[in-house]
Symmetry: C2
Subunit: 368 residues, 2 copies
């Protein structure tokens, strides 16, 4: 078992970012320690709306590069509604990181935990366990303000560009099917659904055509196709029927929040953004400045993102034992709900950020 | 009371289109008859995927023009997944009608009926009563395949254009606030929420800026602002907190299906698409070819769209009594659920298309 040191770049960011990041690093440390895998070195990088307000730049000098030099990037939350660019958009250095490091695969798990929060009346909703795979470098976000690609025509009109490339789409769908194989090994079945708007847009028919091509290389995996509007409906009607949903960037942004809502709220929404050479891990929720530093935020999305980070490093560093450490985090959260030991304020419970984190860390240290 | 004859262009379309359109015209006739408002003349226009398959054109010759000559257009459903353009997109003459007649205001009510289908566990979900106002001529749909504006770069990339104009956005937001005034008169309160992605896109910050400007002219109406991803979450968390949600075309497509899901399914999703000089009314659901002609489709979305049509004609023709006829349809559906007289197959009930329609027509004829 190798114990070469692991380096993680940490961007705590704004609002509750620091609160939940501290919880995530504590969980990572607990998991790595439980298996005796050596220490993780964290290198902090200052970035976000707060930094922008002070310095006029959204990340500390050299921050973009230093983030990419680490084995992985852990991020808390970015943005303060009161701090905006002149054009009205917010401060979003993480969108630039997605672009610089081509983090095309946005993995957003949506999972119902036993005794966990539940919004749907149908009891089958307790079986929700799906992954939204959001392309994260192109689509409509090709035109995000930070890239300066919108066409502003005086005060009369603004045009944005949605871009779908074969190169990225092939990688995305291949990622989806590989993920499906991994899940199939664990759960016995896997289904990849292409979510698009192929009835109306050429770009989306293109997206679906590439899906069909890539699918041919994975005859062992079941496939589905759905229009994004119908998918929004189906996620309310029968979310338990889906497994991996792969889609364009803007669609994934909306649908993953919908998914988060189904299983309680964004406080459960973990996220991995993975490229060929880099990975960024962050809760999919916002910075909630109103409760920042008050020990109120639900750190579970960040903690679960820490689990995704370890799983990613297992492959990247070819150290499979790190995947076991990732599973320890997952299992601890699962058991915490199952044994009713976790009760976050976000869902009307009594436990603050540190309390939830400490409970998860204790469970990590006492695996069943 | 004028009784100049009313002319409605009828496009039954594909799949269950004819089934539900017949239900809608029956309900319109019953409502107009109940108040002695004279007869409605229907002029059928053939259009859709079936027509395209036969003739190579998606609407009968002169159909686009004849639709616009009527006082209003009633549409069933369009599209068959098996009939596609060469580029993979479907047959969508209704998108062209939206464009020709600049039907910018897509009104999509989402309402929970007593004893009606319900997906959320929280009992407050029975108070859901909101309207999604979907801009329906520009946004990303500016680039819909039917308009031929995508840029196809060989087999390597496709680009679409999302377009937001000041002219249309001003009209849209003004429509939203006028609708709010109408609702406030009836319900004592009104709230208009601008749903966008102003944190990331210049076009969306522009959309929100125009919202703020228009809002100043309506100081009596409460306003809110929300990002579209957060809105998807909030519609699951607390849909009862919203009233009118105004947004870009593609966002509205997704969010209105989500809304439809909350109150059961698309079989309840009525829709009005309104421009300065024309209005098109259609259920927001698809053509469900698998159950076409089998008396299984839920006609309530089409019937409720008929109510919206009468409400529209009241203003357009300056015949307020037509709004009362529209209310008769609304009330009949409400009472049908309240008294448990309506039980559509869509929600596991026993009543087919004709049975539901006949029940609604009977209730229209026996107002309380
Ligand atoms: C904050 C925002 C820029 C971001 C996005 O739109 O990607 C967020 O909503 C997310 O889902 O990660
Ligand atoms: C069928 C399709 C073209 C249409 C749309 O996307 O507008 C439908 O989904 C709708 O919501 O009216």
């Amino acid at each position: 078992m190798s114990s070469a040191s692991i380096t993680v770049a940490v961007i705590k960011g704004d609002g509750i970012g620091p609160d939940v990041t501290d919880a995530a690093t504590a969980a990572i440390d607990a998991a790595v320690a439980a298996l005796g895998l050596g220490a993780v070195t964290y290198r902090e990088i200052k970035a976000g709306a707060g930094v922008f307000k002070e310095t006029g730049r959204d990340i500390e000098p050299g921050g973009d590069e230093r983030a990419g030099q680490a084995d992985a990037i852990l991020l808390g939350a970015i943005g303060l509604p009161s701090v905006r660019q002149k054009d009205g958009t917010e401060i979003t250095p993480h969108l630039r990181l997605r672009e610089i490091y081509q983090l095309y695969a946005g993995v957003r798990p949506v999972r119902a935990y036993p005794n966990g929060p539940q919004r749907l009346a149908d009891p089958r909703a307790r079986d929700i366990d799906l992954i939204i795979l959001r392309e994260s470098t192109e689509g409509l976000f090709y035109s995000a303000a930070i890239h300066g690609r919108a066409e502003v025509i005086g005060d009369t009109e603004v045009r944005e560009t949605l871009r779908i490339t074969r190169a990225t789409t092939e990688k995305l769908h291949t990622f989806a099917f590989n993920l499906a194989r991994k899940r199939k090994a664990r759960r016995g079945k896997a289904l990849v659904t292409c979510v698009d708007k192929a009835n109306v847009f050429e770009s989306m028919a293109f997206f679906r055509r590439i899906f069909d091509e890539v699918a041919e290389g994975f005859p062992d995996i079941e496939t589905g196709r759905n229009y994004v509007d119908a998918q929004a409906l189906d996620l309310i009607r029968q979310p338990w029927a889906f497994d991996i949903l792969v889609m364009e960037n803007m669609f994934g942004d909306i649908i993953s929040d919908l998914g988060g809502g189904l299983v309680g709220g964004m406080g459960m929404a973990s996220c991995a953004e993975i490229g060929d050479d880099a990975g960024l891990f962050q809760p999919a929720h916002g910075s909630a400045p109103d409760i920042a530093g008050q020990d109120k935020a639900n750190p579970l999305a960040a903690i679960l993102s820490g689990g995704l980070l370890l799983d990613y490093l297992a492959e990247k560093l070819d150290r499979p034992e790190l995947a076991d450490a990732g599973l320890l985090i997952d299992d601890a959260v699962y058991r915490g709900f199952y044994e009713r030991l976790i009760d976050p304020m976000e869902f009307g419970g009594t436990m603050g950020t540190r309390d939830v984190a400490a409970t998860v860390c204790r469970l990590i240290g006492e695996p069943e």
